[in-house]
């Protein structure tokens, strides 16, 4: 009985994580500018991975494996947003027309400090 409950929880988490990742991939292909694409990709990087790893944590055979998986979540949550930030920063530094490309209103007051 307990095994079944655990299996169902794992499956639910993994499925929601996978659907998150699929959404992210569709978004990456749907948009055609890097800053827009990153917005979609970040979903998969954070929430999708979180769901997948929580699912694996639930199904882990012992407590130490579960703790290691939680550590991996911490690492990914620290590292992947920073990676996205660096990509966005490079784009904003090197491309002066990013306002038009994103379709955002250019805010004259807010200077991008690079």
């Amino acid at each position: 009985m307990l095994d079944w409950i655990r299996f169902i929880i794992t499956a639910l988490f993994l499925l929601s994580g996978l659907s998150m990742l699929i959404t992210a991939v569709i978004g990456v292909y749907k948009f055609d500018y890097v800053l827009n694409r990153m917005h979609a990709a970040a979903m998969g990087d954070t929430l999708g991975l979180l769901f997948c790893l929580i699912g694996l944590t639930v199904s882990a055979p012992d407590i130490w494996t579960a703790l290691k998986l939680l550590l991996i979540i911490c690492l990914l949550w620290v590292a992947s947003p920073v990676g996205s930030h660096l990509i966005a920063r490079l784009e904003v530094t090197t491309n002066p027309h990013w306002h038009q490309l994103t379709g955002a209103e250019k805010d004259e007051d807010q200077e991008v400090d690079v």
């Binding site: 620290v78 590292a79 920073v82 930030h85 660096l86 490079l90």
Partner: protein, 340 residues
């Protein structure tokens, strides 16, 4: 009538060309017909005048051909922008699907033909594997059987791999390094690269620096753990070296070449790689020499499972890890701006 009306016009190539030009030939034909309209016999004219007229007609025809050629080229260009692009795009999708399907088919077929997991009668299950499994722990002293294999039984192979890494780093160094000129002054290219890098580098990025402060020590420690524990648990020189170098690269990204250069320069790379490879070669030469001649090598194997065990495996892991870390770091630095 005219020569163009003969049968070659209805060949598939011509029809394709006509389809491509989309009605261009109708215009062509109209011009052609009007020019070559059969009339009554030409009246008598002055031969000089006739020659002049003929020349003018030839010139006119040449100009017209040229113009038509240009038109055809323009049409072809327009075709590549509209129909052609669609056609190539569809072809691309079709070929990608075919390729993907073929790969899936063959991989699944291969998997379906593989022996069952753990079956006793697979060809790989021979006396070599039996020997590794039964005698490996006693002969190498390493709990991690893979480390015992790659750094003891097949250590020569691993030396070759490390040397390949070193040679690759040297080749990249030769190709990409932007050096000082003959007088020791920085060249124009070096200055340009430097300013470019300063411009694009995430310099003094608070977020990245905070992350680097948090993660670099963890990465370095974890890499060292993987290297030093290579004979006890999965891991070893190659993976640990990659982790260490990722920590170094993170530090370099966050704090720039100036700070990273304080602990890693070309000299460091030279001496660490040379020392590690030299130590590896000497140690393994000694061990092979003793083993081949039936001598006692006096390298204690220790108790299996302890951190100081496995004979030469741990020092060799350290050597491999150093080479891998240095190589990956210098690859990154050279590809980024051509120098340290």
């Amino acid at each position: 009538m005219s020569k163009r009306r003969s049968d070659w016009q209805n060949r598939p190539q011509e029809r394709f060309v006509r389809w491509m030009r989309e009605g261009y030939l109708a215009l062509d034909e109209a011009i052609e017909d009007s020019v070559l309209q059969p009339g009554e016999a030409p009246p008598e004219v002055d031969p000089e005048l006739a020659a002049q007229h003929q020349e003018a007609a030839l010139q006119h025809r040449h100009d017209r051909d040229l113009a038509l050629d240009r038109l055809a080229q323009y049409d072809l260009y327009a075709w590549t922008l509209t129909k052609g692009r669609r056609l190539i795009g569809r072809l691309h999708v079709l070929l990608s699907l075919l390729l993907g399907g073929m790969i899936i088919f063959f991989l699944l077929g291969t998997v379906a033909h593989m022996p069952r997991f753990g079956a006793a009668d697979v060809p790989a299950n021979n006396e070599v594997i039996t020997r590794y499994i039964e005698q490996g722990l006693a002969e190498t002293g390493a709990t991690n059987m893979v480390a015992g294999m790659i750094l003891d039984y097949r250590a020569f192979d691993t030396l070759g791999e490390s040397t390949v890494l070193f040679i690759a780093a040297c080749a990249v160094l030769i190709l990409l390094r932007i050096d000082l000129d003959d007088k020791g002054q920085p060249t124009q290219q070096l200055i340009a690269e430097e300013s470019d890098d300063r411009h694009y580098e995430p310099k003094n990025d608070r977020i990245l620096q905070g992350t680097a402060i948090l993660l670099t020590p963890i990465l370095l420690l974890f890499g060292l753990y993987v290297i030093l524990n290579g004979h006890l648990s999965p891991g070893g020189g190659f993976s640990g070296g990659a982790i260490v170098s990722s920590g170094l690269i993170l530090y370099l990204n966050a704090f720039g070449f100036k700070k990273a250069g304080r602990f890693f320069s070309y000299k460091t790379f030279q001496w660490v790689s040379f020392g590690a490879l030299g130590f590896y070669g000497v140690a393994k030469a000694y061990s092979f020499y003793c083993g081949a001649n039936g001598l006692e090598s006096h390298i204690p194997l220790g108790t299996p499972g302890a951190i100081l065990s496995g004979g030469l495996i741990m020092p060799l892991n350290i050597a491999v890890g150093l080479v891998v870390a240095c190589t990956m770091y210098i690859f990154y630095a050279l590809f980024r701006k051509g120098g340290l």
